[in-house]
């Protein structure tokens, strides 16, 4: 099973670089969708001691929501708002990739030094999880398109969920389902907001949402 786990984690790292380097919205959605599928499959290969029905339920819910439903919702958002199909970066793509590499090194450095109690955790899990969360955070800050920010929020959420898998035994199923549902509603609410933003402004550039500030009298 270790081979599978390591393989999945490497793909997870690659999807982050994919997200960082893409200039097109559709490509970003695809990257996050692949991440979602991975998030669905990971619990199946990591946790062998939990009851099978539980693993299947969790995998099915993650895969279905994060791998299929979220991307479809966001795709529809892109189509309905007829947004420009670019991610509108504040930080250029090559610079983003370079920063990504730095983030990866940082995640590897810290992740390998944080021992998870129990010792049964795959070595790469914590670094890959941290890297995914940090990438998400960076993309939220470094892109102006509201859809990409929503996508990056999902990536951040994926990273944190991957970290949570290391601790799966302490976390009851209900909580996992709750977090998943929350992420679902978050994307739903963000999607609706993006729709309104586009209708109101004819753009989804969050950088131009800047009329509210403290102007001196």
């Amino acid at each position: 099973m270790t081979v599978w786990v390591e393989g999945f984690l490497v793909v997870l790292v690659l999807t982050n670089l994919w997200l960082l380097g893409s200039s097109r919205l559709l490509s970003c959605i695809a990257a996050v969708s692949v991440q979602g599928v991975l998030m669905g499959l990971l619990p199946l290969v990591i946790r062998i001691d939990a009851p099978l029905w539980r693993l299947l339920l969790q995998a099915g819910a993650s895969l279905g929501l994060k791998g299929i439903i979220f991307p479809i919702l966001l795709l529809r958002a892109v189509r309905s708002v007829d947004a420009r199909r670019e991610v509108e970066p504040l930080v250029g793509y090559s610079a983003s990739l370079l920063i990504g590499v730095v983030l990866l090194v940082v995640s590897l450095y810290t992740g390998l030094r944080l021992p998870i109690p129990g010792g049964a955790t795959p070595v790469l899990l914590v670094p890959a999880a941290l890297f995914t969360a940090l990438t998400g955070l960076f993309v939220i800050v470094g892109r102006r398109s509201a859809i990409v920010q929503a996508l990056a929020y999902l990536a951040m959420e994926n990273g944190i969920a991957a970290f949570g898998m290391a601790l799966a035994e302490q976390e009851p199923l209900l909580v996992e389902m709750g977090t998943l549902l929350d992420a679902f509603v978050a994307v739903f609410v963000m999607g609706i907001t993006i729709f309104h933003i586009n209708r109101e402004f004819d753009h989804i550039d969050s950088e131009r949402l800047s009329s509210l500030k403290d102007t001196p009298q």
């Binding site: 109690p117 929020y153 949570g164 977090t179 963000m190 949402l209």
Partner: protein, 485 residues
């Protein structure tokens, strides 16, 4: 019984969405909030009727205090909401400040979200499991986002997007912190993520993971609570949301996030890291007060000013908890007072906005002549929030100062008093300008329904300043016991 408290508003939210008649829906809103308040009242009288539901849902003294504030405030706000919805219902209207036309969110959706907001906040106060707590707090964000976007125009949309994104990122930090907390549990997995079992086994927790988890949770829930420098969503959301929603955000939601921080503090304190936790919270508190004071002085928009005042008061709560001991009691008491006063002020700000049609302080003149009752309450509310006697905030702020003096932290005493004085100076000039002078609009009618809530909330705060009832004092001290040292 606890489940009823959570599910009653949730079911009402669903039915509110399905009901077509505005009248019936408004009756439902008020009656459900009255029923919720009655149940909470019952809980205060006899907690034995509300037994814990497994290890996950229970009402302890801390939860009881915050549930009490939330429910009371929601009842008051629902009365004002009826008057607000009557005023706002109808078709497209023009923006008073910029003149463009916009629609409002359908009333059914608005009412449903209000009730959903109450349900999720009740879940926050009753939740004893850190995972469930996270779910509930994220739920409050999602239920309240459509409320901020009630007026469908570009400013409210911008505020909603900032609120969603900033709070979601904050809450993601809190989720990571929750997992770190889980990682601090030693292998063997005897301890679950419930508050009681974490506190009972606190000495066995891995302190490195616990410290990191505490910081992440503090930053995460601190974003929601409006502690600087994570407060950026707060002024926009509070100024663009309808005033009834601002009142709820400021009076109830910020408290819920504060409660979440207190929960993790009690685990940290039980693990022997109480000093570390409290010092960190103290620093956040003073920074918040300083940032708020800087932005209150010269602030041109009175709703933003009230929002920054909330940042300031969240800072005061954090300072109280940072000091510990009497400071804990004072912070909890101050949370009660701040909720009562600030909700009342936001409701009054709504009345003023409705009459004057502007949020610019410079354009509001002579309120005492134009809307005498509202303006009289506005003046009283300003004095109350600035900590003038006889209001409750005076007693709680004085108690925080006393806690600082007793602990010998003279630097805190000096900085705390200076910042309070700065805010006082900044807000009192605004009060003089808006209340006094020649009126800039015609004298306007003031519907009684829009005055009942602010009046009774302010009266409650004044009463608390003169006399703290025994049952409240006992509940506050029992809550302090839960926090540990």
């Amino acid at each position: 019984m606890i489940l009823i408290l959570v599910l009653l508003p949730a079911c009402a939210a669903v039915s509110a969405y399905l009901i077509h008649s505005d009248r019936v829906r408004r009756v439902l809103l008020v009656s459900v909030s009255a029923a919720h308040a009655a149940l909470v009242c019952w809980l205060w009288i006899d907690p034995a009727w509300f037994p814990p539901l497994g290890a996950w849902l229970a009402v302890d003294a801390l939860g009881q205090v915050f549930l009490g504030i939330t429910s009371l405030l929601f009842l008051a706000v629902s009365l004002s909401a009826v008057s607000f919805l009557k005023r706002e219902s109808g078709t497209t209207r023009a923006d008073p400040e910029e003149g463009f036309l916009f629609d409002n969110t359908p009333e059914a959706l608005f009412t449903a979200c209000l009730l959903g907001f109450l349900s999720t906040m009740t879940l926050v106060t009753t939740s004893q499991h850190f995972g469930l707590l996270w779910v509930a707090i994220e739920g409050t964000t999602l239920a309240s986002a459509p409320l901020i976007h009630y007026h469908r125009h570009h400013r409210s949309l911008e505020a909603t997007w900032k609120y969603l994104l900033v709070c979601s990122v904050g809450i993601a930090f809190a989720l990571l912190g929750t997992y770190f907390l889980a990682a601090s549990i030693p292998a063997g997995g005897l301890t679950s993520m419930t508050l009681s079992s974490l506190v009972a086994n606190a000495s066995r927790l891995d302190t490195r993971w616990l410290k990191a988890g505490f910081l992440l949770l503090l930053v995460g829930y601190g974003t929601k609570m409006g502690l600087a420098p994570m407060h950026t969503w707060l002024p926009d959301a509070h100024s663009e949301a309808p005033s009834v929603v601002s009142a709820l955000l400021s009076g109830a939601l910020l408290n819920c996030a504060f409660l979440a921080i207190l929960r993790i503090l009690s685990v940290t304190a039980a693990a022997g890291l109480g000093q570390f936790g409290r010092h960190t919270i103290l620093v956040f508190g003073l920074v918040s007060m300083a940032v708020a004071a800087g932005l209150i002085i010269g602030q041109p928009d009175y709703k933003r000013m009230l929002a920054y005042s909330s940042v300031e008061h969240m800072g005061i709560l954090a300072v109280g908890v940072g000091l510990g001991g009497l400071g804990d009691w004072a912070a909890l008491f101050h949370a009660v007072n701040h909720s009562l006063i600030k909700a009342s002020l936001f409701l009054l700000a709504g009345n003023i906005l409705a009459v004057y049609g502007t949020k610019r302080i410079a354009d509001v003149r002579g309120a005492l002549r134009a809307v005498p009752v509202t303006a009289a309450l506005w003046v009283a509310g300003f004095f109350a929030i600035l900590g003038a006697p006889p209001f409750g905030a005076f007693a709680s702020e004085l108690a925080i100062l006393r806690a600082a003096v007793e602990s010998g932290s003279w630097a805190v005493v000096v900085v705390f008093s200076l910042l309070l004085a700065a805010v006082f100076a900044g807000m009192i000039t605004v009060l003089v300008r808006t209340a006094q002078g020649a009126q800039s609009v015609e004298r306007a009618p003031e519907p009684a329904l829009s005055l009942v809530a602010p009046l009774s909330l302010l009266a409650a705060s004044a009463a608390l300043g003169i006399f703290i009832p025994g049952f409240l004092d006992r509940a506050l001290w029992r809550a302090v016991m839960l926090l540990g040292v």
